[in-house]
Amino acid sequence: MNPKLLDNALLLRLIAVALFPLALMSCDRYSAHGSGENSIYYWRTTLKLSDEERNFLKKHDVRKVYVRFFDVDRCYDAKSVETIVPEATIAFNDTFPKEIELVPTVYITYDAISAMRFKETEYAEKILRRVEAICRSKGICFRELQLDCDWTKRNRDYFFRLCEAMKERLDSSQSLSCTIRLHQLVQTPPPVDKGVLMVYNTGNLMDVTEENSIFSYRNIEPYLRDGRLSAYSLPLDVAYPAYGWSLVYNKGGDGKYHFNRITKRTDFSSYAALKKTGHNMYEAISDIDLSDGNQSPDYIFEGYRIRVERPESKEILKVKELIDRKLGNRQHNNILYHLDETQFSHYSDNAISEIYSRP
């Protein structure tokens, strides 16, 4: 890296730190509220809000949105100057209402964190510089940065060192949070200010016999045993799902069903070629194309199976009740994953309000 550029960056950083209180006063497009706020994730590659989505934010008094800024992934292109690169950077074609606080969120893939060994400081710097550049270009002042990573025992140390390096670089008014998956609860918490317990994607989507890979009480409950939540030494917010999808499986040569793809469509009632074989399972009795004609073909071939997955609000609330009980008097906020009008129609306002409610 060009040392001169680094010098300039350092200078800019110092200026930024010095001017931060002023910036907070002048930066009025997004502001934060105190504790006890409704939050939601925005996980699309283009920021564009529909009227329904704006209404949702208003109706449910959403004060904070965790916006996925970009992914960090391994790059296997031999010609690339970097082995770990940012990908799928969000395009800002719209803005959030000014009273909503934006939390830049960076998703780090398993391969990327594994490859960061001993280069965590370098990548903390790169990630932060990029987040800052995006924020500067969009007039966003961020108080919290979130790292989302499915780390395991094998690469835990790398992720923790990345978090430490990131914290060193954030100024005193900024905090660092990260997602905590259920399986990570039994391990030492990462060195961040706050965690967001991800209570979704809890099952194995590859497995055709899984009941619901997004969310199921049966899958979640074992992770919450043994006082893990109450003993967890990191402040936690909790993220619940408000989305659904369908998983397509094809029959392999070995006679077993293999995961084929995810499709956003969850309503198959109008397809005669799909025979319902269980309460959320369909089987194709002939070949069909699920596309609307003006999209690229979306074929389901005879023998394929489709499992529709959408957590029911009743079950979400059951898990929420369990988590609230386990967290006891630990104050926490609830977050929804994720902001998408096509998904909200499946949940009543009342159900959303109940998920957001705090004990």
């Binding site: 060009n2 550029l5 970097e82 790169k126 550049a133 270009s137």
Partner: protein
């Protein structure tokens, strides 16, 4: 996963045979899918080479020849600085330094650089200022091209570039007018401001004296014209600047050569380039591409065609005919300064056609014609090949060989002229295009000369050359990258790579040695008779000539490895006396570093009728030697013992050893084996139906001869017993239960059978 870890005492026979087969297939010689790879046919190695990989890469990366531009630019700097400053020093400062290096001049990293010293003088401040601006632009652009950069209008980088553009535009001097103009044009181009590009060009730049800098400007301006829709002007500027890549991308030749005599698009393109830039490096890239494609076709696809798969053969034949015609036209052209390259191309194409006469004629011309030093080297390599094709086993040829080998070896050494620390980067050195001259050695020696010498009866020299061609690379590039498979390690499941000296890999690496039992030398000695292999072993241990010494110094002469092979070949020929003599010379610890030992073999008792892992021998040291000695002893008894029962027992034991050495204990006579069973039942009951093993050796003539001897000896032995108890015992071991009962009813063996069998019967398949 290490497969032998799967073998547990509780494993069922089926699993065992599956694992056994897998081990043999994967371990001994056949190797895993991720490589190292099997020996190619060395005669099919592609050897044509008209340009460096770097040149090819430059073209592939950006359709430009940056090295040429850099060299010309440095010459210009030398012209305005001093002839006394080496071009390398200029190149280093212009292309390898960073902006920050200029802060420390005349000290810092480039204190010894003469160009840096020159730039540091106060009178050269104008030159230094220009270089600093150019560096800064370059580094900002480099940063902006990094995937981590998130650009937006008004960011620091854009602001800095705007400031630098102002500086370039405001330069009024003459000394660097063209260079500042180049930077200005680049910045306009980056901003998409093509109108300013064209205006600047038309107003002033087009009248500047021509050099590499204005050529580079012209190339940018051509791009600007192209984007503004003026194709003719764009082609004119691309032609002026020699920007062939842009000409090709515009398909500029489509309507240019109306009088062309060629129908093939590729040849027409060559003609277009040649007519404008007869010495363009692109011609060498294209020639190499086309000749190599022909090599691919001849070596790989031609067989397919024979089987009826059409690959557009007629079109390709017409293309190569036209290519040859064009090459002859290029040679005849007065403007061509690379006639040697075209002769070389023609020679190689005729060689691929099998027309060695015409190939030789053009090769002679290539050697005498003007061309680049690089092509001269390629021509030299091709000369070695053509000479090998013409060579025979005569003393004249053998005498000439030393000189050729010397030349070949010097080039190989140059190819690997790296420090050992740097010289491990080829993960797989076995039969892999590690370096050009290594390929030449393999093609010329392994592909042509060794088979010729072998056919002429000079197997010793053939093996010497094969050893050299197969193993020299490990001397020159002595480090090897191999893998630790984490699944073996319960505490750490991570696999990792380790780089170790090749010698250590051969002698201490606990996993399989992928090389020494798979390379072409091994293949060649393994296909020899034992006496030929022994002669070779004698020759390498007692060199007679300078050639012997030359080859010995450059070959892999681990006598344990060689003697073990010779001893094993003698066992294959059932010459146990010679086998014992050679195996006795193999050091005791060698067995443990063979793949066979690493895979857990050398433990079955080779003299049992039922060979199974329920009866492993406790001390398996010197397994092969002990076997050979025992067989030698038994052969002596069969010859000389006069006591009929002892003699019969010796015959049975000898026959069992012989049978097993071409059966379950195949590693006594071989380095690999894969059991094949006719039915799944045979496979499941592999340990009982030993006769089914014979199916696996049906193409092994040594085994077939051995089986005939086994059957004869067994029959003789059973007939020769005079002691009915001993005869019955032998029948019992062979599970010939009915024979025990019927022929020797009064013996203890018969009593034993009667006490255990409700209804005895012979297992016909077990009779041998």
């Amino acid at each position: 996963m290490k497969l032998n870890s799967l073998i547990t005492p509780t494993m069922q026979y089926l699993k065992f045979i599956l694992v056994l087969s897998a081990l043999v297939i994967l371990g001994a010689l056949r190797l895993t899918a991720c490589g190292p790879y099997y020996p190619d046919r060395p005669e099919h190695i592609k050897m044509f080479r008209a340009c460096t990989p770097e040149l090819e890469q430059q073209w592939r990366d950006g359709c430009r020849f940056q090295d040429y531009e850099k060299d010309q630019n440095c010459l210009l700097w030398q012209k305005i600085s001093s002839e006394a400053i080496p071009l390398d020093d200029i190149k280093e400062m212009i292309y390898s330094s960073r902006l920050s290096d200029f802060d420390n001049l005349p000290g810092g990293n480039f204190a010894a650089n003469k160009f840096a010293q020159w730039l540091s003088r106060p009178e050269n401040i104008e030159d230094l200022q220009y270089i600093r601006i150019a560096k800064e632009i370059e580094e900002i652009r480099e940063y902006m091209n990094n995937p981590w950069y998130y650009g937006y209008c008004g960011d620091d980088e854009h602001s800095r570039l705007d400031g630098l553009l102002e500086k370039c535009e405001s330069y009024t001097g003459k000394r660097h007018a063209a260079r500042y103009a180049l930077q200005t044009i680049r910045l306009y181009f980056a901003k998409g401001d093509f109108g300013s590009c064209l205006k600047l060009w038309e107003d002033s730049l087009s009248r500047m004296p021509r050099d590499i800098v204005t050529d580079m400007i012209a190339s940018y301006v051509g791009g600007a014209y192209s984007r503004c829709g003026n194709r003719d002007k764009a082609i004119e500027l691309f032609t002026q600047s020699g920007d062939i890549g842009s000409l090709i991308s515009m398909k500029a030749w489509n309507d240019a050569e109306e009088k062309t005599e060629y129908t093939d698009r590729r040849v027409r393109q060559l003609e277009y380039i040649f007519n404008r830039f007869p010495d363009s490096p692109l011609l060498s890239i294209r020639l190499q591409e086309y000749v190599r494609k022909r090599e691919d076709y001849v070596y790989v696809y031609e067989d397919w065609e024979d089987r009826g798969l059409s690959l557009g053969h007629d079109d390709e034949r017409r293309f190569y005919d036209e290519l040859k015609r064009f090459a002859r036209k290029a040679i005849a052209s007065a403007g061509c300064h690379r006639k040697g390259m075209w002769h070389y191309g023609l020679a190689y194409l005729y060689y691929l056609d099998g027309n060695i006469g015409l190939a030789s004629a053009h090769l002679n011309q290539a050697e005498r014609s003007e061309t680049t030093p690089f092509i001269k080297e390629s021509v030299r390599a091709f000369r070695l090949l053509v000479d090998a094709i013409h060579a025979d086993n005569s003393s004249a040829c053998i005498n000439a060989l030393k000189g050729d080998l010397q030349c070949l070896d010097e080039h190989m050494v140059d190819d690997f002229n790296l420090s050992p620390e740097q010289n491990w980067h080829y993960k797989n050195k076995m039969n892999w295009p590690t370096s050009y001259w290594q390929d030449v050695a393999r093609k010329v020696l392994l592909g042509v000369l060794c088979p010729k010498l072998m056919s002429a009866g000079n197997s010793t020299l053939a093996l010497q050359l094969a050893n050299y061609a197969s193993n020299r690379v490990y001397q020159l590039s002595p480090m090897f990258e191999t893998y630790h498979y984490g699944s073996d390690d319960p505490d750490d499941n991570e696999s990792y790579t380790v780089v170790i000296p090749f010698d250590e890999y051969r002698k201490k690496w606990p996993s399989l040695n992928y090389f020494d039992y798979s390379n072409q030398f091994f293949g060649m000695i393994y296909s020899c008779g034992a006496d030929d292999a022994a002669c070779y072993a004698q020759r390498i241990t007692h060199p007679k000539s300078e050639l012997d010494k030359f080859l010995n110094e450059r070959s892999y002469l681990d006598t344990d490895y060689i003697y073990d092979i010779v001893g094993t070949l003698y066992m294959r020929e059932t010459n146990y006396k010679e086998a014992s003599a050679w195996l006795a010379k193999v050091s005791e610890d060698y067995q443990s570093r063979t793949n066979i030992a690493k895979e857990g073999y050398f433990r079955l008792d080779p003299f049992r009728y039922q060979v199974d892992k329920e009866h492993l021998i406790s001390d398996s040291g010197d397994y092969k030697l002990r076997f050979a000695q025992e067989m030698e002893r038994l052969a002596g008894m069969i010859q000389s013992d006069t006591e009929p029962n002892r003699k019969a027992e010796a015959k049975i034991r000898y026959a069992l050893g012989l049978r097993n050495s071409f059966g379950k204990c195949w590693y006594l006579t071989d380095y690999r084996h894969s059991f094949v069973y006719e039915s799944s039942d045979d496979g499941r009951r592999w340990n009982r139906y030993t006769s089914a093993d014979r199916e696996s050796f049906k193409y092994n003539s040594f085994a077939q001869e051995a089986y005939r001897q086994v059957d004869r000896l067994m029959q003789e032995a059973l007939a020769e017993f005079t002691d009915s108890e001993k005869a019955a015992q032998a029948q019992l071991e062979m599970m010939n239960f009915s024979s025990v009962i019927e022929k020797y009813p009064g013996t203890k063996a018969a009593e034993y059978v009667r006490s255990r069998c409700d209804s005895y019967h012979d297992y016909s398949l077990q009779k041998r």
